[in-house]
Symmetry: C2
Subunit: 182 residues, 2 copies
């Protein structure tokens, strides 16, 4: 492992945003040559698989400026500084869907774009559901949709569902979680 | 859908790298207020599920500067300008693993980080395998590993496999592709 390491010669800060930070690193490669890496720092995020009493998966439709279109995703959001992922997951689920969960069962984590970004997403299954209060962030406009597995599959075909975390969650729900969540 | 749109008031270029471009947009929200979005443009990428005659999944271990560690992923790579995803997939598979595929079966696509980036990954299943030539890019150091489903599952637990596309691919292989690829 260590023989593959790319040592930083110099790191040049490029952008210090309110969400992401960008820097360009000059690195030494394992063969002694140098190269450049363009890198994005991200605070990390959570995403939640939430299945209603009716056996439907809760999605939120939201405009994604990066894509210049709206897509439907599982409820998700960025970690605030020092926030526990499970706490963030419960907060985001209630803010975006009005569903309160008494427990967040961890289903692992994944890096979304290891080629250029360190964004890590923690995935949870919401358990112990009750009615809470929708209270989206003031710059966030989301529309809740509860879908059956068949409806979700059609949304994937129409690319209304089109992001990695939601497609991974769908596959997990269809193949491994269904018996335990319905 | 259109009511959710965030219209661009002004787009400020921040970084024009060799891989990513970064800009910050001032937008009008659906309620008429304004906000800022920090956005990353990416050329897009491909990823390949490749299963050997022995029924093992082909992975490549590689140092990811963004994470400051090496992880194992399915073979993948960035699209070159104007390159067809299937052509890119065959090129990257052979460069990184020495495996030539006569056919790339499309398995859909997904955005990796829709909250801030437009990276779209096209996933393929490699078919018609034969021996080719390893020829990694000069700044790319990769180590091929062929793994069983059990080994892959353990690598997920140890977080040696830890990225969304590979975990999605694993789940797809375990649950939907196994009968057709062995």
């Amino acid at each position: 492992m260590s023989s593959m390491e790319e040592k930083t010669i110099q790191s040049t800060p490029i952008f210090n945003g309110s969400v992401i930070r960008v820097h360009e690193d000059e690195v030494t490669l394992p063969n002694g040559k140098t190269s450049r890496r363009e890198l994005v720092k991200h605070p990390g995020a959570v995403a939640v698989i939430c299945v209603t009493e009716e056996g439907k998966l809760v999605l939120v439709k939201q405009y994604r400026k990066a894509l210049e279109k709206a897509i439907a995703e599982i409820p998700a959001g960025k970690l605030e500084a020092g926030e526990e992922p499970a706490v963030c997951a419960a907060r985001e689920l209630e803010e975006e869907t009005g569903i309160r969960a008494s427990k967040m069962r961890p289903l692992g984590s994944f890096y979304t774009s290891p080629g250029f970004a360190d964004e890590l997403v923690y995935l949870f299954l919401a358990e112990g559901l009750s009615q809470g209060t929708v209270e989206a962030d003031e710059d966030e406009f989301v529309e809740r949709m509860d879908v059956t597995p068949g409806e979700a599959a059609e949304m994937v075909l129409r690319q209304e569902i089109h992001d990695a975390k939601t497609m991974y969650a769908l596959l997990l729900w269809e193949t491994k979680l269904r018996t335990s969540t319905t």
